[in-house]
């Protein structure tokens, strides 16, 4: 057994990483639904889920059980193969895309192996192209689901989604070109490192300042690619019942749901990596005290959870919430006490907090914005986003050329 482990160490590590990432992504997905419902509810002066568990924290679990045990009828007249293939395809592609994202700069050293955070090797030189390749295939899940259901509304949803995704993919790809020109590489790690060119600039060195136009186009196009509000026409419930997944129920529906939320996470990762410095801290590198910020935030949050928990109405909540708070506080304390660990978590901490901010923006938009009309959607994509992103490419390349020509920068 031991010799097998030693001989296939890379394989075993990758397998363990895949299982871990799957577990984490699915859990985060589940709690993203909780987060979304909670935030939207508070925006609309409601409480949101609060019956199952303290603050409704066990709601995702209940939802999951519901999805698993619901009846799963297959409508008559569906194209069986494609009908079953579509949700699988959607989920598999969404999960594949998140496997290509690096989550931290430094490898962790365990059992004599350098283990990078993230499944794909960090020196993957077509990094972002590979990501786009995987997300480009994502449209099939939606389009085929719409077609295979053999029903009017899903077909319309599928048609809308394929037209929408083709249109916005152009703007999405073009808007990234500016960042690629500045970094001179497709590799996600190199793109982040290019933003740390002046360590003293901190937040000012990020791509979002010179590439604001690119970020604007990228984020909007990416929201459209993930079929989220205000671009959720493929599943517009007021016109199309539930759009492409009308005929899907039980776990097949859950698969579409998980795929959508996973692609939200992927887009948030991409936004933070391409435009917001990825795992870079927003503070200048010399401000060493900011390295204690993660622990400080964790400890304060943990204490707040304890304080909130001891006043909770139910006995169960009075036990669970302080326990949770104590665990979070302890985690923060561990980071303070172990300087090595504290240094290691800096990168992942900043990346994850940026991802969290973008996920919040997603939910925020869902809570505030009305849905586009179909012609508005098409006109917006073709007549505004695409020209803007092309202008961005032209301006960026001109500035880079001018720098090389007249200021002699490398």
């Amino acid at each position: 057994m031991n010799s097998f482990l030693n001989a296939n160490a890379e394989l075993v590590i990758t397998l363990v990483k895949i299982v871990l990432l799957l577990f984490i992504v699915l859990t985060v997905n589940a709690y993203l639904t909780w987060f979304e419902r909670k935030v939207v509810a508070h925006m609309q002066s409601r409480w949101g889920p609060h019956r199952v568990g303290p603050h409704g924290l066990l709601q995702p679990l209940a939802d999951g059980v519901k999805f698993l045990f619901k009846e799963d009828p297959t409508p008559a007249g569906v194209d069986k193969l494609v009908y079953y293939l579509a949700p699988l395809l959607a989920l598999a592609l969404a999960l594949t895309s998140i496997a290509l994202i690096p989550f931290g700069p430094e490898p962790i050293r365990l059992f004599g192996h350098d283990i990078y955070l993230g499944i794909a090797p960090p020196d993957l030189n077509i990094g972002i192209l590979a990501l786009f390749a995987v997300t480009a295939l994502g449209v099939y899940g939606v389009a085929l689901a719409g077609w295979a259901s053999n029903s009017k509304y899903p077909l319309l949803g599928g048609l809308r989604s394929s037209a929408q995704m083709i249109s916005y993919e152009l703007a999405l790809t073009m808007s990234v070109v500016g960042v690629l020109l500045m970094a001179g590489s497709f590799n996600l790690k190199k793109i982040i490192e290019a933003q740390a060119h002046h360590p003293e600039w901190g937040i000012l060195g990020w791509n979002v300042w010179p590439q604001f136009l690119g970020f604007f186009c990228f984020f909007i196009a990416a929201v459209a690619e993930t079929n989220r509000v205000p671009f959720d026409l493929p599943e517009a419930e007021s016109e199309l019942v539930a759009g492409f997944h009308t005929e899907y129920s039980s776990f097949k529906f859950a698969m579409f749901f998980i795929a959508e939320y996973t692609s939200m996470i992927t887009v948030s990762c991409l936004c933070s990596i391409l435009f917001f410095g990825g795992w870079l801290s927003p503070f200048p590198a010399s401000w060493l005290f900011t390295h204690y910020l993660p622990s400080a935030i964790l400890i304060l949050f943990g204490l707040w959870v304890i304080w909130d928990g001891i006043r909770y109405e139910t006995t169960f909540g009075r036990i669970i919430l302080p326990g949770l708070g104590a665990a979070i506080t302890a985690l923060g304390a561990v980071f303070v006490l172990l300087p090595n660990v504290n240094e290691f978590i800096q990168g992942p901490f900043w990346l994850l907090s940026k991802i969290f901010v973008f996920l919040f923006v997603y939910v925020w938009m869902r809570g505030t914005l009305p849905r586009f009309r179909y012609d508005q959607l098409m006109a917006f994509g073709w007549k505004l986003l695409l020209p803007l992103s092309i202008v961005n490419v032209i301006v960026t390349s001109f500035v880079i050329l001018a720098k090389m020509q007249w200021w002699g920068a490398k």
């Binding site: 193969l81 494609v82 077509i126 390749a133 295939l137 389009a143 719409g146 077609w147």
Partner: protein, 167 residues
């Protein structure tokens, strides 16, 4: 058998199965799905050949744009199961003959050129994105500009075709 050879045979089998399935399937959507399988298998083969950029472009453009357009049109036109009409004998016989002749010609060419291909194997530089961009923007800059013109013409053509005639 080395690992790369095993990967090659797996991908090659996938591609051939996909291509055969393209012919055998009766419904256009199934044919389109088969073709997508072929394209993904080919992208895998490009990776095996060290052409990462081409592999990515293959999936993004072929898989993510061209085939989506096909699927879109099939859905839009609600294309049903293929009608079976008898092949006209006039076209069928020469067609089959042509396939056989073509296959024979290709096989003969390959069989003859075996030596020359194998001797130059593995002398290649690493196919980098940088190298490709250097080629496109230096050696092939005029063809490259021509393709942009071609795309412009195609866009205009598609727009004109899509326009409904004013009654």
């Amino acid at each position: 058998m080395t690992a790369s050879l095993a990967v090659f045979f797996a991908l090659a089998a996938l591609a051939v199965i996909g291509a055969v399935s393209l012919i055998v399937q009766k419904h256009p959507i199934h044919s389109a799905l088969s073709l997508i399988v072929v394209m993904i298998a080919l992208a895998g083969l490009y990776l095996l050949l060290g052409a990462e950029f081409v592999a990515a472009v293959q999936i993004i453009v072929y898989g993510g744009a061209i085939m989506v357009l096909f699927v879109f049109v099939i859905m839009l036109l609600n294309a049903g199961v293929e009608e079976h009409t008898s092949i006209s004998k006039m076209a069928g016989a020469p067609g089959l003959l042509l396939v056989v002749a073509l296959a024979g010609f290709v096989a003969a060419t390959i069989a003859r050129s075996t030596e020359s291909v194998e001797t130059t194997l593995q002398t290649g530089e690493i196919a980098s994105t940088l190298g490709i961009s250097n080629m496109i923007f230096k050696d092939f800059v005029y063809p490259f500009e021509l393709t942009s013109f071609l795309i412009l013409v195609a866009v205009l053509g598609a727009t004109v075709l899509a326009q409904r005639e004013k009654s």
